[in-house]
């Protein structure tokens, strides 16, 4: 990293993209996961008529809304900053990349944003079945939204369905079907959704755990805890399977990223996977602490003896193809973010297994540190999600669109340092304040617990009484 005084527009634009995107994605998986869990809880209430499920729906619904507000407002920045900071990129890819973004808004985001309003305010205005449909539409909108965004991102990892128009200087769409069925998107979508389930499940465990610790409202929190554990475990298992297929797609489409994940410099058969390395990662003095023989070959190719191409060979290949230059990403970052992603994800799964074991058949863990530790573990999926995206995006460098367009060319050519600095600092400060506020509110309402049965029921059916207070008001 150079001196702060030497920052150019490219550095600032990249930092802004990193900060705003990682921040946005703190809230996205929670939204995707919790919308589904709230929809399930409300469905359970409609089918079983047990008030505990209604109270759980209201309780988790509120926490869901605190989170989704952040996701929505930070999402707008994502769409605008391509044009603001990356105008050259936008001109180059707009014909291909813009369509999935437009589809996301038309197909998914309208649905999600309209029906979230219907769900929030509709408790006493709609027939129960219709009101239930609203939260399911929100959940479906979130899923569809994720797919289109991942399809757009997949084009940056593995450009398909386009041809280069040299005269116009841009990539032009030849097959929208190919863009939407990009193998990277097909593998990244389940991976992202499972990560969202892991994230939401872990939060449900942590929040329910707080109330287990205080032995409060267990009739509400016990079923939620079971649902949370199940969601975390399904998410964890899905992450392993989808991560495996994503790894193989990545090896096929971006072999450099796989080599960078292991800091593997020489092409190797039966390549090992190092859990940790001390020393440097520049290929000269690294000392792996624990190595699992053949695992990297297996992750990359499906065979323990498979060939994994090394950074040096790939660099030479790319130099022959694309001209002189350095085609490896920053290795320490890819190496450690890959491990952080896997490690923190596995911690979350381990925690879910332990909590399941210790609470099985009505048991209650007695150690005073059990629940506090479980609650702190709620941070792990966020660390894993952030590390995963940092790995994916930094591992693609120096390209913004792999093999087509370098990040250094992509930045807005006429936007000056002060302008980008103002927006970078501005967004960072606003986001910091909002992070504190959102976390405080989340904790406050998580601790407050669900409404009592009377309160939950009073505001949960259609009413035309003119004098009755609104069931929900901002």
């Amino acid at each position: 990293m150079r001196d702060w005084g030497d920052m150019d527009v490219l550095d600032l634009a990249r930092m802004q993209f990193g900060v705003t995107t990682v921040y946005h994605f703190l809230f996205v998986p929670v939204t995707i996961g919790l919308s589904l869990l709230v929809a399930i809880l409300q469905t359970l209430w409609r089918t079983t008529r047990k008030t505990a499920y209604l109270r759980a729906t209201k309780f988790w619904g509120k926490l869901f809304l605190i989170n989704i507000a952040m996701g929505v407002v930070t999402g707008i920045v994502q769409e605008f900053q391509f044009g603001m900071n990356w105008s050259a990129y936008s001109r180059f890819v707009g014909d291909v990349f813009g369509a999935p973004l437009a589809f996301e808004a038309l197909v998914a985001f309208f649905l999600e944003s309209t029906f979230i309003g219907v769900w929030i305010f509709g408790w006493d205005r709609l027939k129960p079945g219709l009101h239930l449909a609203a939260i399911w539409l929100v959940a479906i909108g979130g899923l569809a939204s994720a797919y289109f965004i991942l399809a757009a991102n997949a084009f940056m990892q593995n450009p398909v369905g386009y041809q280069l128009n040299e005269t116009a200087g841009r990539a032009e769409l030849t097959s929208f079907g190919a863009v939407l069925s990009n193998p990277v998107a097909l593998a990244a979508f389940p991976h992202t959704i499972f990560a969202s389930w892991l994230t939401a499940g872990t939060i449900v465990i942590a929040v329910s755990g707080y109330h287990f610790m205080h032995r409060r409202d267990l009739d509400v929190h016990r079923p939620a805890m079971r649902l949370g554990i199940l969601t975390t475990l399904v998410g964890g298992l899905g992450l392993v399977l989808s991560g495996d297929s994503l790894g193989k797609v990545m090896t096929a489409t971006q072999p450099m990223k796989m080599a960078a994940a292991e800091a593997l410099y020489q092409t190797t058969y039966n390549a090992p996977f190092s859990v940790l390395t001390i020393g440097s990662l520049d290929g000269s003095r690294g000392t792996p602490i624990i190595e699992i023989p053949g695992l990297l070959s297996f992750l990359a190719t499906g065979s323990f003896n498979g060939e994994v191409q090394g950074i040096n060979d790939l660099n030479a290949q790319y130099q022959a193809l694309y001209g002189p230059g350095e085609y490896a990403p920053y290795i320490p970052l890819t190496y450690w973010s890959f491990r952080a992603m896997i490690g923190f994800g596995m911690l979350a799964v381990a925690m879910a297994v332990i909590v399941w074991w210790c609470t099985r058949r009505g048991r209650m863990p007695e150690h005073r540190l059990f629940w506090p530790v479980a609650m702190w573990m709620a941070a792990t999926p966020f660390l894993a999600n952030s590390a995963g995206w940092i790995f994916t995006e930094m591992g693609r460098q120096p390209w913004v669109v792999f093999s087509l367009y370098e990040t250094s060319e992509a930045v807005s050519p006429r936007v000056g340092v002060p302008t980008v600095a103002i927006s970078f600092i501005g967004f960072t400060l606003v986001y910091l304040v909002l992070a504190v506020v959102a976390l405080k509110l989340f904790l406050k309402y998580a601790k407050a617990g669900p409404p009592d049965a009377e309160g939950a029921l009073a505001t949960s059916s259609p009413s035309d009484e003119p004098d009755q207070p609104m069931a929900f008001a901002y």
């Binding site: 507000a69 044009g83 105008s87 808004a105 709609l126 103002i422 901002y474």
Partner: protein
Amino acid sequence: MDLTTIWFIAIAVLFTGYFILEGFDFGVGMLLPVLGREERERRALINTIGPVWDGNEVWVITAGGAMFAAFPHWYASLFSGFYLLLFAILVGLIVRGTAFEYRGKGDTDRWRRNWDRCLIAGSAVPAFCWGVVVANLVRGVPLDANFDYTGSIWGLLNGYALLGGLTTLLLFATHGAYFLHLRTTGDLAERARATGLRLGAATAVPALAFLVWTQAAHGNWTTLVLIVLAVMALLAGLALDYTGRGGWAFAATALTIGLASAALFCALWPNVLPSTSDAANSLTHENAAATQKTLGIMTWAAVIFLPLILLYQGWTYWVFRQRVIVERIPVA
């Protein structure tokens, strides 16, 4: 009609829809300190738009996404060129969206007062900046051969654009007042009516000046007709509000915004961002456009989904059609 023309119209429709819908949201936000004299009244005001503001905001996200896909150069030049204006709009929308959801979840007066400030500023700043953005679009900016804006933020804060900003600021506030007149009851509705009347009169002056300036500098026969109709609609809104017909007054300002926005896009046509430095560098609906292939796919998506969106958004307005009564707001 060729696809680039269709998509020029589609983008114009999306922005116009956005200004009509979020226009009254912005208005309600700006009128919070004027009409909300005590806590329950402020909550009543916010709840008139509570169920719909988020859906309204998606119009601009769709407009942005559609512009990116259908006119990549327009999107790139506009967003990188009008950078700080869009930054201000974004910060406004962020604090405003958060305020809706978080304001009622705190305990102290200070908490609510701070979020009220976010709501007011987060409504007023975008309402003003969108006017500045659209006026500069019509007026044109210096562009180089790559269609990149060569000026600075100061070049965007010219007299015509600032007048445009003042017009949208006041027009959206008026639109919001008429909306509140329609959506509240009793004393609050009456004060909304009276405020709407004053605001409407205050809007007429800059709006007339801005539209006449637009006609004189960038107009043609079509814009003339649209501008005359827009001014008539604005005056009709005033008269309707005066006679207590809140719903019709609101329809009139919706029409005013729609007609004025249509006039501005007609004044822009066939350019999408004219260059004031060298006419050869102007972005038009043709040289800014995506390929026929992309435009064709986008057209199918719009034909299928836009009617659907209008249907379900329209339905939500029907579901929440009841007026908000201050006495029905639960005491916090």
